[in-house]
Amino acid sequence: MEITLNHYLVLSTILFAIGLIGVMRRKNLLMLFFATEILLNSVNIGFAAISHYYGDLTGQMFAFFIIAIAASEVAVGLGLLVLWYKRNGSIDLDMMSTMKG
């Protein structure tokens, strides 16, 4: 069976759904980061596949940008996470409610 664009897009959608469910369900901040990564990379798959399909490099370039941004996001995010853990001893989302009005 030949692998067509649709297969890539279906994969991308499935990954996006997994990521979205992870964002909603997970209570551990670290797991939330993983879920975010899955979301971003599902999009990257979509970009790369469509870019290849149209023979236009723009999509792939955009995917690289997203990878770079994701990396920096994780770097900053993990730093904050470590700091938070040192201060509070927990990275449970439900405990982070100091902004509650």
Partner: protein, 622 residues
């Protein structure tokens, strides 16, 4: 010459602003002197302009652009021509005298500074009104004098009756001003401009019915300002204001603005004699109508106010029949003797502790000789006895009516001339002669300050001599206004004799009837007296058939429409937002996980909408 124009125009407003600086303070004598000096400056500048216009120069300036939108262009333009300069002279002269007089009259008033501020502001507005070179500028002055009149009638605002009278005057004028505004709109709509020179040149080319509509609407505006029937009731009530105000605004200047408008629009009204005839008929009716009310009134100032109303009627007869210069002539003469009469009444009021009922006076001649003589001069002039000012101007109006073969108008005016003489001398007799009734009421009258009397004397001189310059006046203003052909040369002397006879007859009747003080109270129960003293029941009719229903209608609108519909819908919108907020505040739990869920929910909704709309869009386009 431009400089003199600007000085004449702006000196009063400088005075007004200067006085306003001291507005909240108790009496500051310098305010009276400065404002009077500035009005005098304006008078001097107007005199210089009069000289220039006499030499044939017409001063026309554009201060700056006022409105420029597309084809619609209105500048702040001012023009001094023959008619304007006459009005300027009248306004500034009477204003100067009234200002000086007011220094004495308002001597003990707490609102001294405020009074001068308003009075000078009025003079400025009046100058704008007469000097503007377009209808819209005139309208600004028109509204300005209206506001100042409101401020000054209600000057003693702690008095209920004064505020009521001020509001009445303002609202009546508002009704008329709406019509005037429509007239101005129509002028622009049909002729494409509001500049006098353009519209007067254009007027003959436009549709006659449109022109008549414009003429009628502008005249309704004039009716309000000049207190013509049926918008006349405010003028008598306006006597609640201080007497110098009555002299300046409600006798000499503002109320004549309506006549000025008709004179100014002479080229337009010349094209529609049917409207002119209506104006003349209304004028004649008002002349008689007001004179009859003055016959029985027992209020010094109201008698003079009705007399003003009556004389305004005379002016409208002349203006309506096309004798514009005669109307302007009577306007000028009337301004002098009527202002004098009012200022004299002010002296009497001062002497009598603000008592206005002449029945409670009598025999004041002994204590107030100068005032009495000045008022007698003014009354003789008003009655139209040779050789005083009123004789020349009023006689000309009667001649105009006779010349146009309008015998009914002539007859009405002729009878009114007799009534005028009668009520003027009834007033004089009751106030100054006969038994000294004021002693029974415990008054201690005294003559006014010397300088107030000196201030009045120029008016007395003018009331005597103004008529002697008739020929120069005619030559001067007919350079601009149309001349009037009199067809009465064969009967001229007879007309003069007949008119003088009825005027003298009126005077003699009054003197004989009132030589022993007021008449017996027996005839006060008669029907005619009751009708007249109640002003033909017109105020009551207005109250019952206009004010009351309007009030009830307003009540309905307030309670049914405003509160139940407008207010309710506004409140409903507010409560909806409030309740929505109350219901959804649970979303803001502060929990990150919950917020993320809401974010996803929002994303899903937006995506769904985006897809739905794009599908729908394609379906429509496709």
């Amino acid at each position: 010459m431009e400089m003199y124009l600007y000085i004449a125009l702006f000196a009063p407003i400088v005075g007004s602003l200067f006085a306003a600086l001291f507005g909240a303070q108790p009496k500051t004598p310098i305010v009276g002197y400065v404002t009077s000096a500035l009005i005098f400056t304006s008078l001097v500048a107007s005199t210089v302009l009069l000289g220039a216009v006499m030499d044939g120069e017409i001063v026309h300036v554009e201060l700056m652009t006022w409105i420029a939108a597309g084809d619609f262009y209105v500048p702040f333009g001012f023009q001094v021509d023959q008619v304007t300069v006459i009005m300027m002279m009248v306004v500034t002269l009477v204003s100067t005298i009234v200002h000086v007089y007011s220094i004495g009259y308002m001597d003990h008033d707490k609102g001294y500074n405020r009074f001068f501020s308003y009075l000078s502001a009025f003079v400025f507005s009046m100058m704008v009104l007469v000097m503007s070179d377009n209808l819209l500028g005139l309208f600004i002055g028109w509204e300005g004098v209206g506001v100042c009149s409101w401020l000054l009638i209600g000057f003693w605002y702690h008095k209920e009756s004064a505020t009521w009278a001020a509001n009445e005057a303002f609202i009546m004028n508002r009704i008329a001003d709406l019509a005037m505004l429509i007239g101005i709109f129509l002028t622009y709509w049909s002729m494409g401009s509001v500049q006098y020179d353009v519209i007067f040149a254009e007027a003959q080319y436009i549709d006659h019915s449109t022109l008549v509509t414009i003429g009628i609407f502008l005249f309704i505006g004039a009716m309000g300002k000049s207190a013509q029937f049926p918008l006349h009731t405010w003028l008598a009530d306006a006597m609640e204001g201080p007497t110098p105000v009555s002299a300046l605004i409600h006798a000499a200047t503002m109320v004549t603005a309506g006549v000025y408008l008709v004179i100014r629009c002479a080229p337009m009204y010349d094209l529609m004699p049917e409207v002119g005839y209506f104006i003349a008929s209304l004028g004649a009716f008002v002349a008689m109508f007001a004179a009859t009310m003055a016959l029985v009134n027992r209020d010094l100032k109201r008698i003079i106010a009705y007399s003003t109303l009556s004389q305004l009627g005379y002016m409208f007869v002349a203006a309506g029949l096309g004798a514009y210069w005669v109307a302007l002539f009577h306007l000028m003469a009337h301004a002098f003797f009527k202002a004098l009469l009012f200022l004299g009444a002010g002296n009497v009021m001062h002497a009598m502790d603000s008592e206005l009922d002449p029945v409670k006076m009598g025999g004041l001649f002994k204590v107030m000789k100068v005032t009495a003589i000045l008022m007698i001069i003014a009354s003789v002039a008003l009655a139209g006895i040779w050789p005083l000012a009123g004789f020349f101007s009023k006689d000309k109006i009667l001649e105009v009516a006779f010349s146009g073969e309008h015998y009914i108008l002539w007859g009405t005016l002729w009878v009114t001339a007799g009534l005028t003489a009668f009520y003027s001398f009834r007033l004089i007799m009751l106030t100054f002669f006969g038994e000294e009734r004021y002693k029974n009421f415990g008054f201690h009258p005294h003559e006014a300050y010397k300088y107030m009397l000196y201030a009045m004397s120029p008016l007395a001189v003018l009331a005597v001599i103004a008529g002697w310059f008739e020929h120069q006046f005619v030559d001067f203003v007919t350079q601009m206004l149309p001349t009037f052909e009199f067809h009465t040369h064969h009967v001229e002397m007879i007309l003069i004799l007949v008119t003088s006879a009825i005027a003298l007859g009126g005077i003699i009747t009054a003197i004989v009837m009132y030589r022993n003080g007021p008449l017996s109270t027996k005839w006060e129960s008669q029907f005619a007296y009751k009708v007249l003293i109640n002003q033909y029941y017109i105020p009551q009719i207005y109250e019952k058939f206009l004010v009351q229903p309007y009030r009830e209608l307003s009540d309905i609108f307030w309670k049914q429409i405003d509160m139940k519909i407008v207010d309710a819908s506004v409140d409903a919108i507010a409560t909806t937002f409030y309740n929505t907020g109350e219901a959804t505040r649970g979303m803001q739990s502060g929990n990150l996980s919950t917020m993320l869920k809401w974010m996803v929910a929002g994303l899903v909704i937006l995506l769904t909408l985006a897809v739905a709309f794009s599908v729908g869009y394609i379906a429509i386009i496709g």
